[in-house]
Every structure is written in structure tokens, then in C-alpha cells.
Symmetry: C2
Subunit: 214 residues, 2 copies
């Protein structure tokens, strides 16, 4: 089980600093959508050049113009880029193909995707399928992560690569880990912690200890 | 009837140049998603500072983190920002509220939104509803604009503000105009024309002449 540190709502400098302090405990570093939309590909380039050995995920949330957007991420140094599962089928297909052409990875973000479409998207066996509770749903509806778990756990373990994202904190990990996700994405539970490096280490230690058991 | 010049897949400098030559014939200038994801809010700031009197649309395609993304657009100088109709309901609602707080406009992009959800989104009566055929659908499926027209025309004229987007060219305008859309969005038919200013003028002249008839 890997975990990804998501960096959002901060400057590029703050993101690189955060990746320096908390990043060593994470498997992957995500340049969040808010950084990409605020600073463009410079955010991805800066992160990759600061951490050339690290897997960098560009959370570009492509919805159209697949080849152009994925190519810009990979050329800026991203190892993985994201496409929305709610996007047109052709767009998801072109993202998959572009990732393959570049020898890079891609993640399909299942935020607000109906169950029947999720079933179809499971056909993309090279993808990481990300079961995702949105920030707006968490912060303004008070929805907790439990709501997206059912879908995720239905698909985990059957050969697909499953990621979980959306307000995940250390306290919910014991339950989440039982279901053997492949990737756990954590943002503010680390970046807003009083001591992000300590929070990241704690998370990492827990995942490592449970990962061996599962 | 207004029309919006969409600027995509070019540098900020090229976009500002294009807005200088072809923009005077357009009602609104769109900073396209590809510019935002490549250059961030600098693309919006540069366009607004070059054309402070012009209505600038930031095609940010928000899918989550509504308030943060819309605030960044409006603070960079955008007059209108876009949210995906496929996003969670809460996200669309927060975009509407943020636009209202800033005294700015918002457009709901209906790309790949099922008809029953479109019906619900018609409840956002302060929005511009954008019936949109994606680039990937046009370029890789050969789908023509005709496919999205039925939905659009069902809703045009009943008090909602309806925009049409997706590979629109001068040749299809006579038919589109009959249905009285409020906004027509044109990108490459102008920006890839041998003489973009001439293409923009032709489009503008046609829309003005037909707009008076409708």
C-alpha cells in the first residue's frame, strides 16, 4: 500500500517546502488542482526538479482536450496525470493512450461518477481508479468518507488499482486498510497538522505496519 | 446575441495578440482551459490588464473546490468563470454563490451531462447554460455540433441564458441563429483562420445582421 501526499491551496514555494519536510515519508507527491490552476505547469516543473527521484502526480482533472493536457503534464515532469471519470468516454480513452505513449501513468478520478459508469471505467485496467469524496462535499455538506467506501471496496482486490481520496485522516485508516486499497491520498490531515513531518511519519508508520499484515 | 472568442492552445503572448486583432469584433474574450492549466491565473491577469473594458471569461472548468477556484479567477480579473455541470451539486451551488458574492457571472458547462441533470441545472437562473460538444468528441469521434443542438434548443427561449460551444463555424450559424441562443462561442474557426481578424469580422457581421431579425 502506497500513500500520496496531496499539496493544495498553497504557493509553489510552500508546496516544495512541504514536500521537503513531509514528502520523504510519502510514496508519491501530488501537485494539486489548485496549484495547477493558479500557477500552471510551473508548479509541476518546480516539484519534479526539486524531487527528480519522486513519483509526481499532476492532478490536472482533465475533462476534454485530453492529449494536449496530458502531454503538458508529462512534459513538465509528471509521472502520473488525472482525468475525470465524468468526462466523455473518448476523453478518458485518449488520456489512457497518451499516458501509454509517454510511458507514464494515469488516474481516473471517480468524483461524482454514477455506479454504472464506474463499472465501465473498470475496463481501463492500466488506470488507477480513484474513489474520491470532493472537498466541497466534505466542507459544506459534512459528508464523511464512509459514503464513497462502498463503491471502492466493491472493486478493490479484483486486480484493479484502487485509490481512496477525500479528507482521509489517521483515525479512519484502520478501517480503510482492512479493504486493501492500493493507494491512499492524504492532503490536509498532513499539510494542516501542527507538525506536518510528524503527521506524515505517523501515517507512513501506520500504513507500513498494516500493509504487511494485509 | 453575443459571441465569445475562445483562446486555446497558445501562449499568453499569442492570446493577447489574437485578442488585439480579432477580439475587437467579439463581445467577450475567453481565456481557455488550456491556457489556465499551462500558465495559471497569469493568463487571466494578462488578458484583463490588456483589455480592462472587455468581458473576460475564465474557462476554469471547476469540478471541486468551488470557492477557492472561482475566487482566484475573479481576483485575477475574470468577469465570468465556468463550472462543470457534471460536478457535485454542492460545487455548482457554491460557484453560483461565489459569483454572486463577487458580483460576477458564471457559466455551467454541460459537457457530458445527462438530460435529467440538465433539467435540474436549469434551476440556476443566474447562470449561462453552455451546451458544449467537447474537442475530443469533435476531433476524434468526428461528432458534429448537431448532436448537442437538440438539448440546447429545448431550453433556449424560456428565460434561461443559453450558450452554444464546440467547433462552431460560420457555415452552421444560419441554422443555429434561428433558435435564438444568447451566446455563441467560437474558437478555432477564428484563431486558425488564415486571417483571424477577417474571420472574426465576418462572424460578427453575420451575427449582428441575424440578431436583429430574430
Amino acid at each position: 500500500v502506497k500513500w500520496q501526499l496531496a499539496l493544495d491551496r498553497m504557493s509553489i514555494t510552500q508546496a516544495v517546502e512541504m514536500a521537503k519536510s513531509a514528502g520523504p515519508y510519502a510514496d508519491w507527491i501530488e501537485v494539486g488542482t489548485s496549484l495547477i490552476k493558479m500557477y500552471g505547469m510551473e508548479s509541476v516543473r518546480a516539484m519534479k526538479s526539486a524531487f527528480p527521484e519522486k513519483t509526481i502526480v499532476a492532478d490536472i482533472k482533465t475533462f476534454d482536450n485530453a492529449r494536449y493536457e496530458f502531454a503538458m503534464c508529462f512534459e513538465a515532469g509528471a509521472d502520473i496525470a488525472t482525468v475525470m471519470g465524468a468526462a466523455p468516454a473518448k476523453t478518458v480513452e485518449l488520456c489512457a493512450r497518451t499516458a501509454e505513449d509517454y510511458g507514464k501513468g494515469y488516474m481516473i478520478d471517480l468524483l461524482n461518477v454514477p455506479e454504472d459508469r464506474i463499472e465501465q471505467l473498470c475496463g481501463f485496467d492500466g488506470a488507477i481508479l480513484c474513489f474520491h469524496l470532493g472537498k466541497d462535499q466534505q466542507e459544506h455538506e459534512g459528508t464523511r468518507f464512509e459514503r464513497v467506501k462502498a463503491g471502492a471496496f466493491k472493486h478493490a482486490g479484483d486486480g484493479l488499482s484502487v485509490a481512496l481520496a477525500g479528507g482521509i485522516r489517521l483515525e479512519v485508516l484502520p478501517e480503510l486498510m482492512l479493504h486493501r486499497p492500493d493507494l491512499i491520498i492524504v492532503g490536509e490531515a498532513v499539510t494542516k497538522a501542527p507538525d506536518p513531518a510528524a503527521a506524515a511519519k505517523q501515517l507512513s508508520d501506520f500504513i507500513k505496519s498494516r500493509g504487511d499484515e494485509c
